[in-house]
């Protein structure tokens, strides 16, 4: 398996929006390398033609009927938001997406 670089760490941290201070990058680099170590064992197994498992109990089409159920009250929906205004969650920056 490929060795990781500090750049990989920066990229991945940005991908999942977790700010890692510069001085901690090496620490996370070493943790990730250790974490990926067992994966080397994969090379020993032949998985040609083997299906993937994404669920173990084999059910299909577990859907629900199109029926309305009660929603949360506005109060409960907003309960844990840090910044609230007139029933909205707010953030202090403007999203610039040309809308």
């Amino acid at each position: 398996m490929a060795k990781l670089t500090k750049d990989d760490i920066k990229k991945v941290a940005d991908l999942i929006k977790i700010h890692i201070p510069e001085e901690e990058l090496d620490n996370y680099l070493s943790q990730l390398e250790t974490a990926l170590d067992p994966v080397n064992d994969f090379e020993e197994l032949d998985t040609k033609g083997v299906a993937i498992t994404s669920q173990t109990i084999g059910t299909k089409n577990i859907n629900r009927k199109d029926e309305v159920k009660p929603s949360l009250s506005q109060r409960d929906a907003l309960l844990n938001g840090k910044n609230i205004k007139n029933g909205y969650f707010t953030v202090q920056q403007v999203i610039n997406d040309g809308n």
Binding site: S54, Q55, I62, K65, D66, V68, Q74, N86, Q92, N99
Partner: protein, 477 residues
């Protein structure tokens, strides 16, 4: 240097359902107070789990079948992972490599010819919340979050904005016919995303860049965006520059687009199969069952109207604009076999009945008289029992009161006066009263028209104009 555009479209359509895609929140959120149609699932609270809406899935398959798609009988949901404040879970539940529908097409009419626009895929996913600007703040409302969304992706088959317009209108018409969606663009139920590049005319290669314009909410703006982008991109190409591969947003409703400050790395969505939702399968039986609910589509109906009723293509097109309009029309002519009469009824329907409704901004369902009454009225006129002009008057009365045409004619004494001796007498009277005009007869062809008008006035519009004209001419022969 001449250039041509390569255009592909992505349409986002909100199917009509009572509840949201993965939870039971009421789907009728439009115009409601913010954050009042949410629950742990669509608000993305820790621990919540999605359960798919069966009706939304069936509507997706129904649309795919109606648009000539193949169906992936073994399908699934996937997570599309990215961050945005209006995306509460930090991922969107969507479909990646096994969309419910793929490889379909929509036929549009361009200048009387049929053109086929190919569809790459149709899949189902969930919508995000809504963000609003207020000064320096962004306000977030999650009522829309978790609403079902059908995404229709076309191949880059369009050659100009007219084809795009026709496609968008045809698609909207079809989804309304199928009762899959109201496609009300003002409520954001149908939105467009444009993919466009430009190349030298005649070149067979696809350009190596693509510009994306997101969140276009009306067909007219879509056309303007295409025109703007064509100009912008050709200008760059003519200068020897290549337009940047990027996502742009709308500046305003004029079609002008802006480069977005959001950095556009090709985003790594880290798709993987949604572990919280078991696979979705559609059996052949279930697909057949859904097929039977599709019914006749607008294009089919239009061609049938042309063949069966001998109608002009443009008349047929208007008649099939909505299923309800078409059904009302067919209802009105169901006991009639005379093709000429049918054509007349079509004319009155399109010109007058629809006209009245449009002027009042009312819908067909508010019409006070039944379809059969229109047929009756038009046959009265065609049979010569009622003049055309008075016919319109009767129609207006029917529209207002719902009274039967025969009753109105009788009550107001509007039967046509067709008796030749009676008309001869009146004609003579008119001639006698208008010596000056009579004297001009040989010189002024309009004189006959004037005298005819006077006869109509005398008879309060009831004279059969053809008979009256014939009599006048015979008197001057």
């Amino acid at each position: 240097m001449k250039y041509e555009p390569i255009i592909g479209l992505e349409v986002h359509l909100q199917p009509k359902t009572k509840s949201k895609m993965f939870c039971g929140c009421d789907a009728d959120y439009f115009g409601k107070q913010p954050n009042t149609h949410t629950c742990p699932v669509c608000l993305g609270l820790p621990g919540a789990l999605p359960v798919p809406n069966e009706e939304a899935l069936d509507k997706c398959v129904k649309l795919a079948l109606a648009l000539n798609c193949k169906i992936n009988k073994e399908s699934k949901f996937d997570r599309k992972n990215y961050f945005y404040p209006d995306l509460p879970k930090g991922y969107q539940i969507s479909q990646y490599d096994l969309p419910l529908g793929y490889e379909g097409f929509v036929e549009i009419d361009i200048d009387g010819d049929s053109r086929r626009i190919r569809l790459t895929r149709i899949h189902i996913e969930e919508d995000t919340g809504k963000s609003l600007h207020e000064g320096d703040l962004t306000l977030l409302d999650f009522n829309k979050s978790g609403m079902p969304l059908l995404e229709i992706v076309t191949e880059p088959d369009f050659v100009d904005e007219i084809e795009v317009e026709q496609f968008a209108k045809r698609l909207r018409q079809i989804v309304r016919y199928l009762d899959i969606s109201d496609a009300d663009m003002e409520k954001g139920q149908m939105r467009f995303e444009l993919n466009m590049s430009v190349r030298e005319t005649g070149s067979k290669e696809l350009p190596d860049y693509k510009v994306e314009v997101k969140n276009i909410g009306s067909i007219s703006v879509l056309q303007k965006v295409i025109a703007f982008e064509f100009k912008r991109q050709t200008e760059l190409l003519e200068k020897g520059e290549k337009p940047a591969q990027e996502t742009r947003g709308l500046k305003d409703m004029t079609g002008e687009t802006l480069s977005q400050r959001v950095k556009e790395d090709s985003e790594d969505y880290r798709y993987f199969p949604e572990p919280d939702i078991p696979p979705i399968t559609y059996s052949d039986e279930k697909i057949e069952e859904i097929k039977t609910t599709i019914g006749e589509l607008p294009n089919e109906k239009k061609h049938r109207f042309i063949d069966q009723y001998n109608l002009e293509p443009s008349a047929a097109e208007t008649l099939v604009a909505t299923k309800r309009k078409a059904d009302w029309f067919e209802d009105s002519i169901k006991d009639i076999s005379d093709k000429a009469l049918i054509a007349e009824i079509a004319k009155w329907y399109v010109g007058d009945v629809i006209g009245l409704l449009k002027a009042d901004k009312k819908s067909l369902s508010s019409l006070k008289f039944p379809p059969a009454d229109l047929a009756k009225l038009v046959s009265l006129v065609k049979e010569g029992k009622l003049t055309g002009t008075l016919g319109k008057q009767v129609l207006a009365k029917m529209y207002k009161t719902g009274d039967k045409p025969d009753d109105i004619v009788a009550a107001e004494g509007l039967e046509v006066v067709d008796d030749e001796s009676e008309l001869k007498a009146i004609a003579q009277k008119v001639i006698d009263e208008n010596p000056k005009v009579v004297a001009d007869i040989s010189k002024n062809p309009n004189a006959i028209k004037f005298l005819l008008g006077q006869i109509m006035k005398e008879t309060r519009g009831k004279a059969n104009p053809k008979t009256a004209e014939k009599i006048l001419e015979s008197l001057f022969a």
